[in-house]
Symmetry: C2
Subunit: 400 residues, 2 copies
């Protein structure tokens, strides 16, 4: 008999999951002949293999029974303390270890925050455009998205009107080198945003995966520190994916204690706790200041890669196209003439063995998606391939 | 200003999360003077530290860029193939690697299956009693539990009536050395259960964390193989927590492909994928038959520990008390005279520095909880402390 023919009933939320057209198109990017600007992968050249191997060895030699046993849901205490202290660099000076919860990558943080805050139909504020992975996570909990407009300076605080904010469970914001736009909020906007959120009583989820990858301009204080000064509720997400390696799946949430307490209960039901060995090995790697010497290497690498792409764009893209010039991170956002649809351009680019992610899926909510946009990642592609790929894209745009 | 005083609104599901009285009581078990039979920790003596250290070293030496990079949501392909092949030992001979999804421990599988199958109010069938962690995971999705009665032979297939089963999204079953009872289904019940589920079109979630820890009696075929023969839809959960180490957070789901396809979308939104380094190191540890020599050592250890506790119970518990004699796994289930409440007994036991988990929270649904029950774990307590702790419990029961 065929076990597969029997009926079963999925939940409403699961029935709404559809396989993404764009994901299907992008499957071809796995072919080696394709020059892909579609990925969101950090550069493996930045992975500190030697330091991490030594750290795993030390942990397994010195404390294997703790590393391999079940651990506390809150996370490994020394790592929580390290994170609390590290946040001083973002201007948050009084974070306590008890306000830090270790999670299995910041994608898991998004899932847990969806569980914590979103009922079906709950209003959730997102930047337009916003990080696709967050939209996917939150969508499982069936929110009603309301988007907050952005311009060349990122999200516009004045656009967070009382009407837009009324009843919102939170606003999800990426202040540094946003995915997908690469844009960064300046200090005035940061202050305006946290003040408005304090006044309108909207909690802020600050997602900062790329903050340590700044290679131009001046570091800006994070929303966590500014928000605490302004009386706003800020929940900050961080990750070790971009400063060490993403395959570890290690990140954290910082939040007021009553929120952490609920998140601990949710985390326990979600996966008990994050792997102890990974937490201990990462702590062992970074505890004596390793990042201070490691991060400049990674930043230089990303700066160089970004430069290759910007140079090629300056040379090969027509004047009708505009794009962002990121101060850090991994992405450049391109705005095409309004008559060119990013998804249609992708189909033609794929025929020429070049790939990227069209802008449309990064938009949620009532605001119309800007279909004449696309996201380019410059991080893992070799210099000559960046030049070739951008030249081809330039030709295709000119022909459109 | 105080950031903590600002209002925010939790989701309905999060508001329903309450901190467990029993968890609060059990916090004292962390004191070193407490003899705790409350834990669910595997014995660290069974952790293969040397083999795993060598495996992590080999992976980081040979393939660091894959191990530390983002990986496929489905899991590491060689590990999926290993799992598919390994299931032959349970009588499931035709599992394909594409039917295997790697997850971050089987607790995560429960969360993902809750997302996949449960709407608020959906009927979910559980054994009475059932695994507390599963009840916690599923509860976040607000099901209506209906419990299926059990007796000394485990869950009673005949009790799965058409009325009980009508509209159920699934039945959650632990056929081997169940947590909390330690009971194992015999072959006749297994066959009756899968046939009834095929007939009533109820998918089965078979959770088998302890199957490899059998130290008495004969191995029985798993519900996956039997179910496929009978035409039932079976989703099987497995874990490396008990055969290698729980701190790794590594498990798997086996299911028909249309279910795996949805679960992959859910997993992507939940945490992108499980850590590649962990998957590769576990595969490296087990790929050449390591478990065939390692598991007998673990089984002997658990058998010995179980024996210490059963001996002590025979000696110190009064005749009014009955208990299970497990063929494997980690737990013994105790039934007290009806007038003794397990939670009340715990309060008195804590005063004497002995701890266990009362039976009540393991019951869900309309069936009345058997409050005169408790769960004992014998795995991580030293022989002399087992004898002392059981003697104290015996005295307290006699005095009740």
């Amino acid at each position: 008999m065929d076990a597969y023919a029997l009926p079963y009933t999925f939940s409403q939320r699961a029935q709404k999951l559809t396989s993404s057209t764009i994901r299907e198109i992008l499957k071809v990017t796995e072919r080696p002949e394709v020059i892909s600007f579609a990925g969101g992968l950090p550069s493996p050249k930045g992975f500190p293999v030697q330091a991490m191997t030594a750290a795993f060895d030390r942990v397994l030699a010195q404390n294997p029974q703790t590393a391999l046993q079940y651990g506390p849901t809150e996370g490994y205490a020394p790592l929580r303390a390290w994170v609390a202290n590290d946040l001083k660099r973002t201007g948050a000076h009084n974070v306590k270890p008890e306000e830090v919860l270790i999670v299995s990558g910041s994608q898991q943080a998004l899932d847990m925050l969806g569980k914590l805050f979103i009922d079906p139909g709950s209003k959730v504020l997102v930047e337009a455009p916003s990080y696709l992975g967050a939209l996917q996570s939150f969508s499982l909990f069936e929110p009603a998205y309301v988007s907050v407009p952005t311009d060349d300076g990122g999200v516009i605080p004045d656009a967070l009107t009382a009407e837009r904010a009324a009843g919102a469970r939170f606003i999800y914001a990426l202040p540094n080198f946003q995915n997908p736009t690469g844009l960064t909020l300046d200090l005035a906007r940061r202050k305006a945003l946290v003040e408005r959120c304090a006044q309108l009583q909207v909690p802020i989820i600050e997602d900062d995966p790329y903050g340590e990858l700044r290679y131009a301009g001046e570091p800006q204080p994070g929303l966590l520190g500014l928000g605490r000064e302004a009386g706003a509720t800020v929940i900050r997400l961080g990750t070790f994916s971009k400063v060490l390696a993403p395959g570890l799946r290690l990140g954290y949430i910082v939040a007021p204690r009553p929120i952490i307490a609920k998140l601990v209960q949710i985390k326990q039901a979600t996966d008990l706790h994050t792997a102890m060995l990974t937490q201990m090995a990462v702590y062992e790697t970074i505890k004596d200041g390793f990042l201070a010497t490691h991060l400049p290497v990674v930043r230089d690498l990303y700066k160089e890669q970004c430069g290759y792409m910007l140079d090629a764009m300056d040379k090969h893209f027509p004047e009708t196209v505009s794009w962002t010039r990121p101060q850090g991170g991994m992405f450049i956002w391109v705005t095409l003439p309004v008559h060119i649809d990013g998804t249609a351009l992708l189909a033609r680019a794929i025929e020429r063995n070049v790939a990227f992610v069209p802008g449309e899926p990064f938009f949620a909510g009532e605001q119309q998606a800007q279909k004449n946009t696309l996201r380019l990642s410059f991080v893992t592609v070799a210099e000559d391939k960046i030049r070739t790929g951008i030249e081809i894209l330039g030709q295709l745009i000119k022909e459109s």
